[in-house]
């Protein structure tokens, strides 16, 4: 078994007939920063054993729906089956955005990487913000 760090030299997780529990991610995640100029909320849903993410971002004249994309799930270790993070990409033609999420103590830490492909000479930039799951209990 090849490895580049010793923590990767592990027995793979036992494969059972139970699919990975994706419910920890599903729901509506709301930005903790009410004044954000970026993503207002994320809606993560499960379908056919896969997770999909839909982004609603803040625009000058209201919310902008980026549409849904399938997300790639990452666990917390090579021998784990518990989801702990995800990545996802959007290609807007004029720019590409990569999203990297990580769940920490129930909070979603989301990093956004924006790369511009047009002639606007805007600098590539990143944003790191926090999202909480809307549980609707109170």
């Amino acid at each position: 078994m090849d490895f580049a760090q010793i923590c990767d030299l592990v027995e793979p997780p036992a494969r059972t007939e139970e699919p990975m529990n994706l419910s920890a991610f599903a729901g509506t995640w709301v930005n903790s920063n009410a004044d954000t100029m970026s993503i207002a909320r994320l809606v993560i849903s499960e379908s056919g054993g896969k997770l999909f993410l839909r982004v609603y971002a803040i625009g000058p004249e209201g919310v902008i729906d980026w549409g849904a994309r399938e997300i790639k799930i990452f666990t917390s270790s090579p021998s784990s089956r518990q989801p702990a993070g995800f990545t996802c990409g959007y290609d807007f033609d004029f720019a590409e955005t990569t999203l990297q999420g990580m769940i920490m103590k129930g909070l979603l830490v989301l990093a956004q990487f924006h790369s511009f492909k047009d002639e606007s000479r805007r600098a590539d930039y990143f944003v790191r913000e926090y999202f909480a799951l809307a549980h609707g209990r109170f």
């Binding site: 580049a4 760090q5 010793i6 000058p60």
Partner: protein, 142 residues
């Protein structure tokens, strides 16, 4: 006449993105040799960031069974942070380390003098290992 800028969120229109002062990103604080704050780490022991003109090279050393494992050097892409930390524009580096059996998408930034490295690791072999995400912290050698 100003060109019309396409956008998908308000921050795409931030004037700071085209401000010449901000385009000269200062990554000085990232340059150097960084050591894992955890001596017991079983992941990345050391990170070295070098700059050659506008190019950045990142070298990682993993903890191995019989000694350190040098990762293939990766080119880092510099990104600006519109928020400021300590009165300065923070920056981050993103890089992809590629092995025949694994790919590591890396995001490196500085937070109050601590280098934070987040790795999203994807196994490309048939080992059955789960793709996973990890975060480690490093202090500057000097």
């Amino acid at each position: 006449m100003k060109p019309i800028l396409e956008f998908k969120q308000t921050s795409h229109l931030d004037p700071a993105l085209t401000d010449p002062k901000n385009r000269a990103l200062h990554a000085d604080k990232l340059i150097g040799r960084w050591l894992n704050t955890s001596r017991a780490t079983r992941g990345i022991a050391e990170c070295r960031i070098e700059q050659q003109g506008e190019l950045f090279n990142i070298s990682l050393i993993g903890v191995g069974a019989n000694g350190p494992i040098e990762w293939p050097r990766a080119a880092g892409r510099l990104l600006a942070n519109l928020d400021e930390e300590g009165g300065q524009r923070a920056v981050a580096l993103v890089a992809i380390f590629e092995f025949s059996f694994m790919k590591a998408e890396t995001y490196i930034r500085l937070n109050k003098g601590v280098l934070v490295i987040v790795l999203y690791l994807t196994f490309l072999d048939q080992s059955g290992r789960s793709n996973y995400v990890t975060r480690e912290f490093f202090y500057g050698e000097n």
